[in-house]
C-alpha cells in the first residue's frame, strides 16, 4: 500500500491511501497512518478512492485512529470509497459512526460546519 498526507486549508489534513487494505497491505501503512493521525492536527479526511479492497484489519486501523482523534476533540471523514469498499464499510456499520462522503467539498463542510 501507499500512503501520503497533504495539508489543506483550515488545518485539515488529507491522508491518501492506495492499494489493498488486507493484512499484508495494512502492515505496510499502519504505523505511518497512526503517526499521521497522531499529529497535532485534529481534522482529517481519509481519501479511500485508491483503495480497491478492504478487510476487517483495514477497518480496524481506520477506527483505532478515528477513536484516538475523537478522544482529543478532533474529527475524521472518509472520502470517496470505491463501490466494494463502500459496501464493506456499510456491512460493518461504519456509516453509523463515521461520516462518509463522495465529495471533497462535503467532507470539508462536515469538518468545518460553521463555514
Amino acid at each position: 500500500m501507499k500512503i501520503s498526507c497533504e495539508e489543506l486549508n483550515g488545518d485539515i489534513y488529507k491522508i491518501n491511501l492506495t492499494g489493498r487494505m488486507d493484512i499484508p497491505g495494512n502492515a505496510e501503512i499502519d504505523i505511518k497512518f497512526s503517526g499521521m493521525t497522531a499529529s497535532p492536527g485534529k481534522l482529517f479526511i481519509i481519501d479511500l478512492s485508491g483503495v480497491d479492497f478492504i478487510a476487517s484489519i483495514g477497518i480496524r486501523t481506520i477506527l483505532m485512529s478515528a477513536k484516538a482523534i475523537q478522544n482529543r476533540g478532533g474529527k475524521i471523514v472518509l472520502l470517496n470509497p470505491t463501490d466494494h469498499v463502500s459496501k464493506i464499510l456499510s456491512v460493518a456499520g461504519i456509516g453509523t459512526i463515521l461520516d462518509i462522503t463522495n465529495n471533497l467539498e462535503s467532507a470539508l463542510c462536515l469538518l468545518l460546519p460553521e463555514k
Binding site: 488486507d22 478487510a55 476487517s56 475523537q70 478522544n71 466494494h84 464493506i88 456491512v91 459512526i97 463515521l98
Partner: protein, 140 residues
C-alpha cells in the same frame, strides 16, 4: 454454464500467502465470468476466515495446512469451504458486537465474522475427522 466445477488450493498458516490466495480466487471468478463484486466478497470472506485461523487456531508455532475449496454447483451457487487442523472453534456461535453507536464505546472484536455472515447467504461450521470446516454459500 449449468455444470458444477470445483477448485482447490492449499496454503499454510502464514499471512505472506494471502496475496497468492486472493489472486487464485479472482482468477477463478474471472474464468467463470462471475461478477467482480462477488469475487471481492469471496476474497474478503477468505481473508477473514483464514486470519482467524492463523491468529487463533493453533497453540504451536509449526506450519499447518489450510485447505480452501471453491465449488460452483448446478444452481449457480458458489460455495467456499475452508478446512484447518486447529483447535475446534465454531466462529458462527461467537457473540457479535452490538451495533456501533459511537467510536468511544467501540467493540471491534468479531468484525471479520460479522463481515462473513453478512456477505455470504449462508454460513455453517462442522467438526469432522479432527478438522474445522467452515462453509460459506454465495448466490450468484
Amino acid at each position: 454454464m449449468q455444470h458444477s466445477e470445483k477448485f482447490e488450493l492449499c496454503v499454510t498458516n502464514n499471512f505472506s500467502e494471502f496475496r497468492a490466495m486472493s489472486l487464485w480466487l479472482h482468477n477463478i471468478c474471472e474464468n467463470l465470468a462471475l461478477p467482480e463484486s462477488l469475487a471481492k466478497d469471496l476474497d474478503v470472506c477468505a481473508n477473514e476466515a483464514i486470519t482467524n485461523i492463523i491468529l487463533y487456531a493453533y497453540k504451536d508455532q509449526e506450519p499447518h495446512k489450510i485447505l480452501i475449496q471453491i465449488e460452483i454447483n448446478q444452481n449457480q451457487e458458489l460455495i467456499l469451504t475452508i478446512q484447518d487442523d486447529g483447535f475446534p472453534f465454531d466462529p458462527f456461535t461467537f457473540s457479535l458486537p452490538d451495533t456501533y453507536e459511537k467510536i468511544s464505546g467501540l467493540n471491534i472484536g468479531g468484525l471479520g465474522i460479522q463481515l462473513m455472515q453478512n456477505l455470504a447467504s449462508q454460513c455453517y461450521y462442522q467438526w469432522l475427522s479432527d478438522k474445522n470446516i467452515i462453509t460459506l454459500r454465495f448466490v450468484n
